[in-house]
Structure formats: structure tokens, C-alpha cells
Amino acid sequence: MVKEQEFLMELWTHFPDMLQDLQEHVRNQYVATIPREVLPAVVKHAVKQLGARFVITVATDMRQKTGDYRISYILAFDKQKKFLVLQSAVPPDDMKITSVTPDIPAAGWAEREAFDVMGIVPVGHPDPRRLILPDDFPQGVHPLRREFAYNEIFPQEQNMPPRKPAPEGTTVVPLGPFYPTLEEPAYFRLFLDGERVVGSDYRGFYNHRAVEKLGDSELNYNQIPFVAQQICGICGQVHSCAYAQAVEDACGIETPIRAKYIRSLLLELERIHSHLLWVGLAGHIIGFDTILMQAWRIREPVMWLMERVTGNRKHYSSNLIGGVRFDIDETAAEDIRRVMDKVEQELKAVVDAISIDTTLMARLKGVGILTEEDARAIGVVGPVARGSNVPIDCRVDHPYAAYEYLDVQIQVQDGCDSWARTMVRVLELFESIRLVRKILDDMPGGPVMAKVDHELPSGRIGLCSVEAARGESHHYVLTGDENRPYRWRVRAPTYPNLQAVGVMIMGLELADVPISIGSYDPCFSCTERVETLDVNTKEIRIYTREELEEMCKRKTWEKE
């Protein structure tokens, strides 16, 4: 076997009887069906010994096809540029799997979700609470099973939300439950000892929009890209691209090369405006509004550019299965070049100024530490991982669209703190500008849409990771009949990154928490309000948004 497949050889020698039907599926994807009993052992071996990265688990209701449920663990071998899907049948009368979370913390949420949506019980999970369903959802109803209609609603039930008990002698500070700039409202319960965070608990997924259910049961292949792009208000192109490429991979559709270049171009432009947005928000969180104003001023021409080129500021609606819907002509290319020159020049001036700003450094350096081991164990992605010295970037590791021709440089910093993550984003901005120019120079001619006039085959698996501004976005598609996927699974980059927050904010002061949480995610601007409850006196105090902002700003002034 060639060197790239050594990891498979090793897995094979360890589990010779189990990996019988391991098959290369598409160029960089392997699928193996193995018995449920050995699944955790194989996953563990792959992650611990062979250096795989846990991506996500997918629970599928295969009862119409095979009579069983199916659980798939997706692993990424970044060095070898391969994905491995390990799937097992789970019989309906005994829906148990052994949890791998005790050894691989990255799988914690994914396994909780498998229970929520499909009812597959991860035995031995350290934290088996509900994750994505509301606490008053009826017991025994699992929304991604096939018999559950997409438009059902349920009578409300009351049961106590299972909460993590606060450690003895600490104050509980609920941070949330609604963050206006995140798509899903997020609710952090912080356990404080004085001003220091000694623990935390997260509850999110308040605003579940059932896109996966719609994709499985209502929309057709070519409608999903438009719904996928609405998953995120910033990385719309990322999601629709990842979905379209997953289906193309699964069905063997050859996308024209020009379409691939256009996808990369839009992705890079999206990264530029997303990072600029984040730089502004980060400044705003710590009360340094000059950065907010200047970063957003630089960002605006990019948004106008997108409107001119694609027809909309944010939702480009560019992807269909087989290619893109519009071409980039010479005038558009000229526009893009001009805006890039302007952005680069202005960005340089701003970065020049803020990179020697000691106030900013005092607020960001050493704040929100996520060590390299933690980053690897929790499986964080994107600038959070690269700021912790983990050089993963799926533009390089699992090239898609036109990235195999583009020679992307991964930007890594080893500071492991908020400053390192900021620096990663700033460096990526310049890298993206370089890539946009290269794409425009190299873009070949030809059609932008492949001809798809046959019915798409059913029962194929397609995976695609796309590097969004915040990290790796992963889409899994199992094709089905009736012109729609049988199962569509989306894992957004914030999903693994949020799991790291507990570690990241441990030991911080309360005033540093907003920027630490903000530093992993560009979509976090302000906390609406904070309520503190003194466990001893039962006294409740509500901090308004202004007060919390005031607290953060005061700290900045003190440092100055």
C-alpha cells in the first residue's frame, strides 16, 4: 500500500476480522461497516494511536432500508488527507452503544445528540443529559426518526431540566440565555468563587430550526443549498458549498474547474469580511470601539462588492449541484481587484497601529488560555486550533473546490491565548487577499455548471469539510430516493469550539469572560444581561448589558 494508506494498514492489522468491507469510496473517503461491539475500540485506537481527529457522529434511521438504525463515526486523518467513516448497525430493540467520550472528550456532544435525535443510548457517557432538544420535550420521541413528520408540534410537558450542580460555596452567574449575534441563543452558567470562574456549564440549542429534518423529508437536492446557506448569517457560502460538494462527491458529478475557482473566490471573500467583522466585534467587547469603527468601515466595500458581483450582500445563492449559477466576468474581476487593493492598504494601517497597542495586548495576552493538548483533545477547529499551535486547515488537509491548485499557507501561532487567535485571523486576512488575487489570475475559462440530467443514485455517502472563517464546517450526505438526501448532517465549526469554552474560561475573572468567549467565535458581540445568584443568601442581582459593558470597559481603562 502506498504511504497515504498506512494508517488503514495499521487499523487492519489491529482489527483483522472487523474491517473486512473497508472500501475506498470517493477520492479521499473510506467507509467501513463494523460490528457495534468493536466500534468504540476501533475509534479509540484510530484517535489515540493513529492520530485521527474526531469529526462527528451521525445517527441514521435505516429501518426502511436495512431494518436497523445506524451510527457512523467520522474521523479525519489530516496528515494523510483522508476521511474514514466507521459505521455500525444498531438494532431497534437494543439501542445501545458504548460511549467513547471518557477517552475522547470531543465526542461528548455528538453522542448526546445521537440520543436526542435518534434514541441511540451512549452507555457510559459521563454527562448524559439532553443536548439539543428542549427540556420539556416528551420522553421517547426522537425527531429524526422517519415516522416523525417535519411539521409536528407537541403538547408541552414539564420536567426538571437536568442541571449540573454548582460546586460548594460558589456563586452561579447565568450568562445568557440569549446572545443576539449568535444564531443560537447560548446560555452559560458560570460558577464563581469571588470574581474567578471555577467551573461552567453550557446550555444551548434553544432555537433549533430543523434544517436536517427538512432536508431529509421535504426539500429536494437543488433546494437544500439555499436552505443550507441560511444556516449561518456569515458563512452562507460555506454551508451551501459543503453540501453541494458532498452530494457531488457522493454521486460522482464532475464539477467544471471554473465553477470550482468561483466557489473558492467567494469563500475567500467571505472569509475576509467575516474576519473583519470579528476584529470589530472583539474591539467592541473590550470597549475599544475605534477598532469596531475602523474594521467595519474597511469591511463595507467588500459587502458592496459582493452585492455587485453576486446580487446580494450576504446570501450569494451561488451553488447548485454541479456548479455555480453565475460567472465572474472581467468587469467583476476588475472590481474585486480594486477593492482588494484598497482593503489591503487600509488594513495594513490599522494592523500597524493595533499590533503595538499595549492596552489591547494587556486585555488579550494570557487571557482565555487553551493549551495545545486541550485543543487536540476537544477537537477544536479553525483559528482557535491554529492559535493553539494545532496546524489544521481543511483547505490544505482535505482540499476541495480549487484549493489543491492554490497553495494555501496555514497561519499558526503558539500563544494559545486570545491574542494568538487574533493574530491568526489578522494573518489570514492578508493570506486571503493573496489567494483572491491568485484565483483571479489563474481562473481558467469554460462552463460553470455541469450537466446533471440523470437521476442521482441512492445510498451513496458523501462527506465534505469546508474551512469557514471560524473553522471547519462538515457536511455528511447519504443520498436517497425521491430526489432528496436520505440523511443530511451538518456540523458547524462552533459545535466543537463551544465545547472548549469550559476549559478556556477556567480561572478567569468575570470581566475577561466575554472576550475569551468572543475570541473563539466571530459571532459574539455583547451579553444581553447577567444575573447573579448568591447561593448563600438567595439574593438575586441582575446586571444589565450596559453594566456588563461598563465592567469590561473599566478594565480596559485600568490597563491603560
Binding site: P122, N151, I153, N222, F226, V227, Q294, E307, S317, I356
Partner: protein, 176 residues
């Protein structure tokens, strides 16, 4: 420290005025802009292509014998431009309009009614002889009863209506 502040001040002063006086001065949209859609009942042949591709399903066609009633729920429209991409007659097109905020949702609903002819042989309603052939996608198979769901076509359903499931079948849930 001081140097950084000085540099920041230079940037701020150099920027000049960047805000637009938007509601008081109109904003011009670029030529490719995808705005609110408009339609022409005289051109439409009632083929149903737009309703079939619309992702949020905001175009609904009801067949009432010889009349096809097409309703546009523009409050749900995501401006994806699929409908006017597939319309064989260019009966739908985008406008420059993007100010669709309104206190009354019904401002954004509109419908058109099309008279269809009836085929003497099979009894189906149609507009002109070649209406269906004009539809660009070969995978489109018509929207008569029993013809749906074949190749990329789905029965046109109304926008999502929630059904309340009152009797719940409970399974005994195992404790983890």
C-alpha cells in the same frame, strides 16, 4: 503606547465621512441585485416550474378546474432567484425594490389567476400546445395528479402548517 494611539488617531481622521444618509437619500442598487419579485399574469402559462424550485415554498399553485391560482407569499421569499431562472416565459422578474418592511404581512402577498384550456382528448388543463415543452428542465414531468414525485418534481404544498399531534405514543425510555 502613545505611538499606537497617534497612529489610530491618524486613521480615524483620515477616514472622513463614511455613513450614508440612507432613509433620506435613496440608495441605488447594483444591476445584478436580486430584489422583490414581480410577475405578469399575461405571460404566465401556469406550468408550475417556479413553485417546484422555490426553496422556502413561497409560491403555491392551486388548480381549480380551468383556473390556476398562483399565490406568492413574498414574506417568506429568500431572494434566491430560482423562480425567474427557471420560468420559461419570463413571467417573473426581479425588481430593485428591497424595502419590504411592513406592519401587515398581507401587503406582501399577491396572487394571479390564469385561465387554462382543456385538452379534448385527456381532459387536462393546459395553456398552449407547447407550454410544457417550454420548461427548460427535461426532468420536469408535469403536475397533474399521480405525476408528481417522479424526477425532481414534488407536489406543490402550502407553506408549512403545523399539525398538533395530540395522542402521543410513548415508548418506555431506558435510563442511560
Amino acid at each position: 503606547m502613545f505611538k499606537a494611539k497617534l497612529k489610530e488617531a491618524v486613521i480615524c481622521f483620515g477616514a472622513g465621512r463614511v455613513t450614508l444618509k440612507y432613509p433620506f437619500e435613496p440608495v441605488k442598487v447594483p444591476p445584478k441585485f436580486r430584489g422583490k419579485i414581480e410577475f405578469d399574469a399575461r405571460k404566465c402559462i401556469g406550468c408550475g416550474g417556479c413553485a417546484n424550485v422555490c426553496p422556502p415554498r413561497c409560491i403555491v399553485i392551486e388548480d381549480v378546474g380551468e383556473i390556476a391560482k398562483i399565490t406568492f407569499y413574498l414574506d417568506r421569499c429568500i431572494q434566491c432567484a430560482r423562480c425567474y431562472e427557471v420560468c420559461p416565459e419570463k413571467a417573473i422578474w426581479p425588481t430593485d425594490e428591497f424595502e419590504t418592511a411592513t406592519p401587515d404581512k398581507s401587503d406582501l402577498r399577491s396572487d394571479m389567476t390564469i385561465w387554462m384550456s382543456t385538452c379534448q382528448r385527456c381532459g387536462r388543463c393546459f395553456e398552449t400546445e407547447n407550454a410544457i415543452d417550454k420548461f427548460p428542465s427535461k426532468r420536469w414531468r408535469g403536475r397533474g395528479p399521480g405525476e408528481e414525485n417522479k424526477h425532481g418534481i414534488f407536489p406543490v404544498k402550502p407553506p408549512i402548517e403545523f399539525v398538533q399531534r395530540m395522542s402521543l405514543v410513548r415508548e418506555s425510555e431506558e435510563k442511560i
